[in-house]
């Protein structure tokens, strides 16, 4: 309290011009960020957290937006500055890093040039000085061989490394405030851990303040000194992070926190467990119900995968000769029983989605055997493949792109039923109404179009559609990853309910370890196209054996403020690539049995 705040926001209200009327998106926000402090703004999509940060930087389109209130940044009244003066503030007093490291660097200039340009413009350095300073900054963000990477282009860097470059650029002018808008959301969990650590260390070294915007309670708990919870454009709670987490006063805060899956919270439980149902008015959570045993493991598995391999050829040169291959899925085997959920977890490029698609032959596997509900999947012709669809269905990640925008919801859900000639139009209608009710929507919504629904509702529609053929197996490819926490909890509960009532088998593909722990019976950890560890959920989570599984678990941010200040030790390891040359022979893998059904790859 002794020093003057770096950023002071008073009664900030931001409105947008919508159809000729002003609509406020952020209302009456007031907060301070003190020197050296990290303040997190947390909220779900549409809560106005990004608009708040853009208002502070005055990055909203001037004609169609209006900012009211008072913003003091390093003593300057931001809202009173001219656009020209504002340009001197951006990247100087305050810098910003964004979510998408793939698009926020200019692809046609080297990264060295992009950073030194900032130095030359804002600091008035000469070209030589700027080059030396850039290399120092790249070293500071722990980019290996910084000097030799000065002349590399953005596409030569991985996502995590690009985010480091972005941070280096943001630090170039030694800003007093760094605004980080979801800087780790697009990154894999082990890379996210590295970047969070890096931000913490840099903050100590540089003594700057950080305004951190995120939807992830785990990240908040790990990084923030103080936390602001936003809900529908309003600041509902502000306080020291552990205060907010442990003794949140606003019901929304408590509802949000109890909806967040916590890694390690399933220690004493035998079966998958529903998320607690929370009353938004009071914030009271009902005790979550465990799902009764559904697995019929004694019988033959409904899905059996043996030595599945899927590779994509890489062609290059004048005559498109094959020069290598992406070994997306390499010799994997597993069984899935009726009523069981097997989760495939791993980071991007580990082959988990390719596995799901290969099983359905949406992608042609290279070799191996897949037997699904009695079908020899790899031997099926076009007709057989159509029949296979009745046994296995898929739910996609993005509910905004997985429904045809020009088709009513009713048409979308009844279409599989009609196209497979399973009954009359009347029966199709009844079935659709029934399915909508089953997923918690009203049959009256049949004549509406997808864009009239929210993300969670759309995902319910996608689930109803997948169920219309009464499949035995559902491949859920990151089906809850794009949803907000509270919605994610609801959809997970729905999937668990459906598993119980319809005895479905789920192949649950996800990168989210906490959700996986909650919903799975068994877990398979994938790395570079191979399964490195597979076993019952409790065994894998409580007794991880493979080094990669351990690393993955350690990287997951847990929403527990006691873990603030945790350091994983700044590493800058990158994810390895499954691209191999033509003459690459995959090594024969051996597995060691740790306990019953718990297998670990022997390195």
């Amino acid at each position: 309290m002794s020093e003057a705040p770096v950023l002071s926001v008073e009664n900030l209200t931001t409105s947008f011009l919508v159809d000729g009327a002003w609509k406020s998106v952020v209302r009456d926000m007031s907060f301070d960020v003190r020197p050296g402090e990290t303040v997190a703004i947390v909220g779900e999509s549409g809560s106005g957290k990004s608009v708040t940060s853009l208002s502070i930087m005055r990055l909203l389109a001037p004609g169609s937006s209006r900012i009211e209130g008072k913003i003091l940044l390093a003593g300057k009244d931001i809202l009173a500055l001219s656009e020209r003066e504002m340009r001197g503030v951006r990247g100087n007093d305050a810098s910003m890093i964004f979510q998408e490291p793939m698009t926020s660097l200019n692809p046609i200039f080297t990264i060295g040039r992009q950073i030194s340009e900032v130095l030359i413009r804002h600091k008035g350095l000469s070209k030589q000085e700027a080059r030396a300073e850039t290399v120092r900054l790249l070293e500071k963000v722990r980019i290996p061989n910084a000097a030799s990477r000065f002349d590399d282009y953005p596409h030569q860097f991985s996502g995590g490394m690009r985010q480091r470059v972005m941070i280096a650029m943001a630090l170039a002018s030694r800003p007093k405030l760094l605004i980080a808008d979801e800087p780790t959301t697009a990154l894999d969990v082990t890379i996210q851990g590295q970047i969070l650590d890096l931000i913490k260390v840099l903050q100590e070294e540089e003594g700057m303040s950080v305004l951190f915007i995120t939807h992830d309670m785990g990240v908040v708990a790990e990084i923030a000194d103080r936390t602001i919870v936003m809900y529908r454009g309003e600041q509902v709670e502000t306080g020291p992070t552990d205060e907010v987490f442990l003794r949140g006063r606003h019901p929304y805060t408590r509802a949000l926190l109890s909806a967040v899956p916590k890694l390690g919270s399933m220690k004493e439980r035998k079966w998958p467990t529903r998320f607690p149902v929370v009353d938004i008015k009071t914030g009271e959570a009902a005790e979550p119900a465990e799902v009764a045993a559904t697995v019929e493991s004694g019988r033959t598995p409904v899905l059996a995968v043996k030595n599945l391999v899927t590779r994509f050829p890489i062609r290059s040169g004048l005559f498109s000769r094959q020069t290598g291959a992406v070994h997306a899925v390499e010799d994997i085997s597993f069984d899935l029983f009726q009523g069981e959920t097997l989760s495939l977890v791993g980071e991007s490029g580990c082959g988990k989605s390719t596995t799901g698609r290969s099983i359905m032959r949406l992608i042609e596997p290279t070799s191996g055997d897949v037997s699904l509900d009695g079908y020899d999947v790899r031997a099926l012709d076009q007709m057989g493949l159509r029949n296979l669809r009745k046994s296995v269905q898929m739910i996609f990640q993005d509910p905004f792109s997985s429904l045809n925008p020009r088709m009513t919801v009713g048409a979308a859900i009844s279409e599989p039923f009609i196209k497979h000639k399973l009954g009359s139009p009347k029966q199709a209608r009844d079935k659709t109404a029934d399915l909508l009710e089953r997923v918690g929507l009203s049959p009256a919504m049949m004549s509406r179009y997808p864009h009239e629904f929210s993300g969670g509702q759309r995902q319910r529609i996608a689930i109803a559609r997948a169920l219309s053929l009464d499949p035995k197996v559902i491949v859920a490819d990151e089906s809850v990853s794009a949803l907000d926490v509270s919605i994610k909890a609801q959809v997970c509960n729905l999937l668990l309910d459906l598993q119980q009532s319809l005895n479905l088998a789920f192949l649950f593909i996800s990168h989210d370890m906490a959700v996986v722990e909650r919903v799975s019976h068994r877990v398979a950890v994938m790395y570079l196209g191979e399964i490195v560890e597979i076993g019952p959920r409790a065994a894998v989570f409580e007794n991880p054996q493979h080094p990669y599984t351990k690393k993955l678990m350690a990287a997951v941010p847990v929403p527990d403020p006691a873990r603030r200040g945790i350091r994983r030790g700044i590493s800058n390891e990158e994810l390895k690539s499954p691209v191999r040359s033509m003459d690459y022979q995959p090594p024969k893998r051996e597995y060691r049995e740790v306990s019953e059904g718990h297998l670990v790859q022997v390195a």
Partner: protein, 289 residues
């Protein structure tokens, strides 16, 4: 069972939203009014109280606009107003029919080319590029000359020349839509290629095709006028704006009104379609609220 109540976004339905944006766009409305005006004239030509467009009069050769002949008369004494109104039929028909030909042939080729890819795409794309390399009007003239002079043949020639634009536009749109999850979802529920192309891809690529079609109507009207001017379109004595210009070019100094009216009409209709096309492009663009 829900943890936290969600609310559906209050979004207007697609068609009504597009229409609302159209109505707010003044220039698009002007275009619509112009097109409506000329279409009404063309349709009502048989019942309007105007002289026979083919009736000649030796006593009224190349008369300037007057009370009896509002827009004047031509070199063999025919009433220009009447010929303008009947000529509108030929011009608008040529514009619309030739674009329909171009869309009906071009869109399926583009759809197949983009959807299947591989050698099918290779063949269709190379042929399309070869056709696009030739100037539109030159191709149309060559085709019309080859087919023989008549209004129908002119429309076919213009339609075929405009077709490659639609192949390429459709193909590009299909490539973008093809990667959407809902297309893979359609495969996952076991739909065949035909269903996927007609129910999932076509409806989602149609907006830019409609815009392109509207703009191409304008080009086609000019092309028809050019062909008629060269004697390859509407055959005398039947009127069309292009053939009227063809005759008028011999009397530019003595009877400028003979060229002025058809020229102005072509100009207005083309502007009308261009304004409408631009308006549609904005209205159908989902990125603009």
């Amino acid at each position: 069972m829900t943890a936290i109540q969600e609310t559906a976004p209050v979004a207007a339905r697609e068609p009504s939203r597009a229409w609302r944006k159209m109505k707010a766009n003044r220039s698009a409305l002007v275009g619509l009014v112009i097109i409506f005006f000329f279409t009404a004239l063309a349709v009502l030509a048989p019942v309007l109280p105007i002289p026979d467009p083919l009736a000649t009069s030796w006593s009224a050769i190349r008369k300037a606009p007057s009370a009896t002949h509002w827009l004047g008369t031509d070199d063999i004494g025919r009433d220009i107003l009447s010929r303008m109104i009947w000529g509108a039929q030929a011009s608008l028909l040529a514009g619309v029919v030739s674009v329909v030909i171009a869309v009906v042939i071009g869109v399926p080729f583009g759809l197949v080319s983009g959807y299947f890819g591989g050698w099918v795409d290779m063949v269709i794309s190379r042929v399309t590029e070869a056709l696009l390399a030739m100037p539109f009007l030159i191709t149309a003239i060559a085709l019309a000359a080859f087919l023989g002079p008549s209004l129908m043949n002119a429309m076919i020639a213009i339609g075929l020349s405009a077709m490659p634009i639609f192949v390429r536009l459709t193909r590009g749109q299909v490539l973008a839509v093809k990667t959407e999850d809902y297309v893979e979802g359609a495969r996952a529920i076991g739909l065949g290629h035909f269903d996927i192309m007609t129910r999932y891809i076509l409806p989602n690529v149609f907006a830019p095709i409609i815009v392109q079609a509207t703009l191409t109507v304008a080009t086609a009207i000019i092309a028809e006028a050019s062909l008629s001017f060269l004697g390859l379109g509407q055959q005398p004595p039947a009127p069309s704006w292009g053939s009227m210009l063809n005759v008028a070019k011999n009397f530019l100094t003595q009877a400028p009104w003979m060229a002025m009216w058809p020229g102005a009409a072509i100009f207005l209709v083309v502007i009308g379609f261009n304004l409408l096309g631009d308006g549609l492009r904005d209205a159908l663009d989902p990125r603009e609220a």
